[in-house]
């Protein structure tokens, strides 16, 4: 890994499947890296909110990664964080107006969390750790993967919370009229419960699939 950041002749700069899948599976921003927990817990009380939040964040991530990657050789190190924040805030403002134009109900449901995408650490983290060191194609593909991973994770949480808390999915009743909703799932504690449940599931899965060699090492250490 002795390559200079930003040199396009390096074989490391090829876009591979892993560049894309990294954000969806191996380094999923929510279930593996635990980044951006504030919107993850706050706006996932229904599927539509989760989708809107996931898509908005993905758009901001994709657009800011593109711009940061394009300008990576122009931005001096000393002002890079300030530059990234301006770039991110610009796209967040654009999303904010776009959602108001699409649906005021959705805008009211998402509340302040649209503006708070500015401080989503996943986006700044991608800009600093990835887009500012990688060529355009790689940054865009990686950001797309991360965005999809974030959206899917929000959907996983939002789906469970809406199903148990309201007996519906996307507003359509699923569990029938006799189902007594678990109100707590729509309240903040429900977010923690469902997130914890998913994390448990993924941790268990990963442990099970771990190759024998690494497992042997772990045993050996004890």
């Amino acid at each position: 890994m002795n390559h200079k950041a930003g040199s396009d002749i390096n074989p490391d700069n090829r876009v591979t499947l892993d560049t894309f899948v990294q954000g969806i599976w191996r380094d999923n921003p929510v279930f593996v890296m635990l980044l951006g927990m504030c919107p993850v817990l706050a706006v996932t009380n229904s599927v539509i909110n989760a989708i809107a939040m996931g898509l908005s964040t993905s758009f901001v991530l994709l657009a800011s990664s593109t711009l940061v990657s394009l300008m990576r050789n122009l931005i001096p190190r000393q002002v890079r964080i300030a530059s990234y924040i301006i770039i991110i805030a610009t796209f967040v403002t654009m999303v904010d107006y776009a959602i108001q134009a699409i649906s005021l109900d959705l805008y009211n449901a998402l509340g302040a969390f649209i503006q708070l995408i500015v401080v989503n650490c996943m986006i700044l983290g991608r800009a600093e750790a990835y887009a500012s060191r990688q060529p355009l194609a790689k940054s865009v593909v990686n950001a797309a993967g991360m965005g999809i991973g974030f959206t899917l994770a929000l959907l996983c949480i939002g789906g469970v919370r809406e199903l148990l808390g309201n007996g519906s999915l996307l507003g359509y009743p699923v569990l029938g009229a006799n189902f007594e909703p678990w109100i707590i799932m729509l309240l903040p504690p429900g977010g923690f419960f469902v997130l914890g449940g998913w994390l448990l599931l993924f941790a268990w899965w990963r442990e099970r699939r771990q190759p024998d060699s690494t497992r042997a090492e772990v045993v050996h250490e004890h």
Binding site: R77, V79, F91, T93, Y97, Q100, A101
Partner: protein, 228 residues
């Protein structure tokens, strides 16, 4: 190595200013473009949202006009006015005044509850409410916008003025669930007493201040609209 790196990294202040300046310019350009592109749609959405709420709380209304109450005088609202005391008059298809709608606010369980309520001068009663904005607990307090039994309170909630026309004859109050005896009482939702009480308070406060001012000037609302 460290010194060499530091020298290589030294950038002239002019370049820093130039870079940040051009990023800010680009940012401004993008934001202004977005605002320009979406302004019309957003205004349309807001108008639509108000209209939907007004027509819901004034049964039979087909069109609306905005009036503002400034210093106890009712006048036709100016374009783009941001005055707090805006009231909406609703008319049926023949242009007859069906009722007025006004906004009332009170502190609920979590945050302020904003409600639009309709008032009919004919029956001197409140004809409907619709929550515009609230942060009440889902499944409990937010029932004030959905519970059919609770909303039934506001199909004809008595709000007559007293003989001297300076206050309501009977103050609007929220009573415990199942204790409603009179037309000016609101039957609370069991389990959502604070939210139900807030609705009673805000309607009483708003009606007590607005109606004594509005009722003597009701003819201003009845006048046909001057076609521009």
């Amino acid at each position: 190595m460290n010194t060499a790196k530091a020298t290589a990294d030294r950038v002239s202040p002019t370049r820093l200013v130039l870079v940040l300046g051009s990023i800010a310019m680009l940012s401004g350009l993008l934001v202004v473009t977005t605002v320009e592109l979406t302004a019309e749609r957003i205004a349309e959405n807001k108008r639509h949202a108000i209209e939907k709420a007004v027509f819901q709380v004034i049964p039979g209304a087909q069109s609306r006009r905005d009036f503002s109450v400034i210093d106890k005088t009712v006048s036709i609202a100016a374009e783009n006015n941001n005055a707090a005391a805006t009231i909406y008059a609703g008319y049926d298809e023949s242009g007859q005044l069906k009722g007025i709608a006004a906004e009332a606010v009170a502190v609920g369980y979590q945050d302020k509850i904003h409600v639009l309520y309709g008032y009919s001068p004919d029956c001197q009663c409140i004809t409907g409410i619709r929550v515009l904005k609230m942060a009440e607990t889902p499944g409990l307090g937010d029932k004030i916008n959905t519970d059919p039994a609770f909303l039934e309170n506001f199909r004809a909630l008595d709000a007559q003025l007293n003989d001297s026309a300076d206050a309501l004859r009977n103050a609007i109050v929220t009573v415990k669930h199942g204790r409603k005896r009179n037309a000016w009482q609101i039957d609370a939702i069991s389990g959502a007493t604070i939210s139900s009480n807030a609705v009673g308070h805000m309607l009483n406060n708003s009606a007590q201040t607005l109606l004594p001012v509005l009722m003597p000037q009701l003819d201003k609302l009845r006048e046909p609209a001057n076609e521009p």
